[in-house]
């Protein structure tokens, strides 16, 4: 990555983050969002994180690979995240599987 591109990304992403957070400053009057917008926002995290996780687990090198340390690690991590909702435990279990995989 070129340094210029990195800094441009940093600035644009940061400005975008602040703009989203300060949105209510620029919204007029009632400050209520249309229901369909609220609904889209409700779906956003699930869609976004799935779009990022699935290729990283199933196709880390570009081709789909259904049997790998990553798939087993992710499977166990899903169970841990589901039962405990703990970021720390999820990372610990997932990384342990990948690191200890024969």
């Amino acid at each position: 990555v070129s340094t210029g591109e990195v800094w441009l990304a940093i600035v644009l992403v940061s400005v975008g983050a602040l703009a989203a957070r300060a949105a209510a400053l620029f919204l007029p009057g009632e400050r209520r969002l249309p229901p369909v917008v609220v609904e889209c926002f409700d779906l956003l995290p699930a869609a976004a994180f799935a779009a990022l996780v699935v290729p990283a687990v199933l196709a880390p090198t570009g081709g789909v690979d259904l049997v790998s340390a990553r798939v087993v690690a992710a499977g166990l991590a899903v169970l841990v995240a589901w039962r405990t909702r703990s970021m720390a435990l999820t990372l610990l279990v997932g990384l342990a599987v990948v690191l200890l995989w024969p």
Partner: protein
């Protein structure tokens, strides 16, 4: 606060490490964290930049993840009494999932404090800063540790694992599950799309899938609206 801060440490550390592991310098990583104060967006951006994604894909994906702040912004503006512009910008910068959750919880358990709430601002700023300081410190620690690690170690898997830890608790309604499923399938099917644009396509189609399921639910009479999805950082 305790359990919340416990979650900050690993996530902020992963965010810091993800930066340097993807070719950003320690300075760039720290500035990214200070300026954006958005863990998920920072990790995604670093990951995509390191993977050779186009700048627009990086910015759009990060912005999509940050759009949830808009929801908090609107909700907080109803809970917090008005302030001068600068104070509001500062408060806006400090918005996180956790700070929002705490203020929301406080005003719903103590409704009398909602109006004329002179104590609401100190409470919000306290909660937000109690989150900001350890976040930045752990980010720095992650960047320093990450810069001493080989970039091809198994630890790079920490990034997708952290997303998984955010994804799983969000899957509490049928529309959200549908959104995740569609997004996951599309992200694989469109893997060869240029410069990681598959991520953007997958998110958009995932949301459409989720909306369709929620429409169908509503037409059959089931309720489908949940609270806003909560995500760390």
């Amino acid at each position: 606060m305790g359990p919340i801060l416990l979650g900050v440490v690993p996530f902020a550390t992963v965010a810091g490490a993800a930066g340097v592991q993807n070719g950003l310098s320690v300075t760039e990583t720290i500035c990214f964290s200070l300026l954006s104060f958005s863990g998920a967006a920072q990790i995604v951006s670093s990951d995509l930049l390191g993977g050779g994604a186009d700048l627009w894909v990086v910015v759009v994906t990060a912005q999509v993840i940050n759009l949830r702040f808009l929801l908090y912004s609107v909700a907080l503006s109803r809970l917090l009494p008005p302030r001068k512009l600068l104070g509001r910008l500062g408060a806006a910068y400090l918005i996180t999932d956790h700070a929002y959750a705490l203020v929301e919880q406080r005003s719903s358990t103590a409704p009398r404090q909602r109006h004329g709430a002179a104590t609401q601002w100190p409470f919000y700023l306290g909660a937000a800063l109690a989150f900001w300081v350890p976040w930045q410190l752990c980010n720095l620690a992650g960047a320093l540790v990450g810069s001493r690690m080989p970039t091809d170690s198994a630890l790079t898997f920490a990034v997708p694992l952290s997303f998984l830890a955010l994804l799983v608790p969000a899957l509490v309604s049928a529309p959200r599950v549908a959104a995740a499923l569609v997004a996951g399938v599309v992200s694989l099917a469109a893997l060869r799309a240029p410069a990681h644009s598959s991520v953007v396509l997958a998110i958009v189609l995932g949301m459409v899938g989720g909306l369709l399921v929620s429409r169908r639910q509503r037409s059959t009479g089931a309720t489908s609206i949940e609270g806003p999805g909560r995500v760390d950082g």
